[in-house]
Symmetry: C2
Subunit: 214 residues, 2 copies
């Protein structure tokens, strides 16, 4: 791959190649916006796909979980993974059934991982993960203990081969269909949060932190 | 598997087994609520994971796309797939970093597919897919032509082996952490739609259809 580009033969988008992107900025942006990824791996000759939280740190995608997780142990041991992050932006409503579509941004990353062993590095990845999911949270919570860090497996997968596939814009109908008396356009989708719900065991007098009042 | 249950050795949840569910109703409900799935398959010995629209029709997950799609052609030829649908419900904010989590519902289905060849059946799957994504839309759009149906590959994957993994409820902290002066609770996530955006080429005088005004 080139220095600013993750294109390789197996990441090259073949169907609708005009939707394929390979530059670092585009792929990082998708990875930084998603909340969960889908991790694909081969187990006994068969693909398996598991959703996981993740964070991009520099040129790595970092996953974490229990030391008992078979998937994480396999990744830490160097198993190849395919990590896909999909952002669904809009439903595209054309005049014809055939041209209905979705506007989406998906990043597909192939790579092998390695365990992050150093406790300070591990803690730094967990901080980044927390800030990725709930910015502002890390500074107010109890940090991981030594024992908790030991029980946590952190795996970093270097982003070497990747592609993004992106559709944007209005529907594309057959030319003769544009005169049909059918509404067409896009329906934007939005992932949003609703009011935080306090833990039933919350101590009295603890205010909602400012980072959750946005 | 039992009649109302998709559990098999390879779908049995081993980490946190109390989160594993195998009954048909639970798995169908997740499949019916999701908008996209992540399809995992083995290509040249390596897992690959691709997001796709889908619909459950009875005991099958149905996918569609171009006849030129290598993935769909492989599935139509009987390649094994793992199809995962993930619904992210809440971010779980504990007092300790270690016990942060997510409330989610994920269905993981293993199976092999076959092409749906009969044009009437194909059209019925496409109708179901459209109604799954945008209920009420199918009746007002131009139905697929014979040529469009021929260009579309529809693959049905029988749901035989599957599991759901579900987390619900508040954070679970270490007993001694409950007295810490830290806010804890859950942050609900909601996938919603915003106002429909008309196609720039929309004919004048075409009103927004009622099914989009909700």
């Amino acid at each position: 791959m080139a220095d600013d580009n993750y294109q390789t033969p197996r990441t090259t988008v073949r169907r609708l190649p005009q939707r394929g992107f390979y530059d670092r900025a585009t792929i990082h942006q998708i990875l930084d916006e998603g909340l969960i990824c889908h991790v694909g791996f081969v187990s006994e000759g068969q693909a398996a796909v598991i959703p996981m939280a993740y964070v991009r740190v520099g040129e790595c995608i970092c996953l974490h979980g229990s030391k008992a997780s078979r998937l994480l142990r396999a990744l830490a041991a160097g198993a190849e993974a395919c990590i896909t992050v999909t952002l669904l932006d809009k439903l595209v409503l054309a005049r014809s059934a055939f041209h209905h579509s979705m506007n989406y941004r998906a990043a597909v990353v192939f790579g092998t991982g390695a365990a992050v062993e150093d406790p300070a590095e591990k803690s730094e990845v967990l901080r980044a993960l927390s800030e990725h999911l709930v910015p502002g949270r890390w500074q107010e919570i109890r940090a991981p203990s030594e024992l908790e860090l030991m029980q946590t497996l952190v795996v970093a997968i270097a982003i070497r081969e990747a592609s993004a596939k992106i559709r944007t814009g209005p529907p594309k109908d057959e030319e003769e269909d544009y005169s049909l008396p059918i509404w067409a356009g896009v329906l934007p989708l939005l992932l949003t949060t609703t009011a935080p719900v306090p833990d039933p065991r919350l101590q009295p007098g603890i205010a909602l932190p400012q980072h959750l009042t946005r």
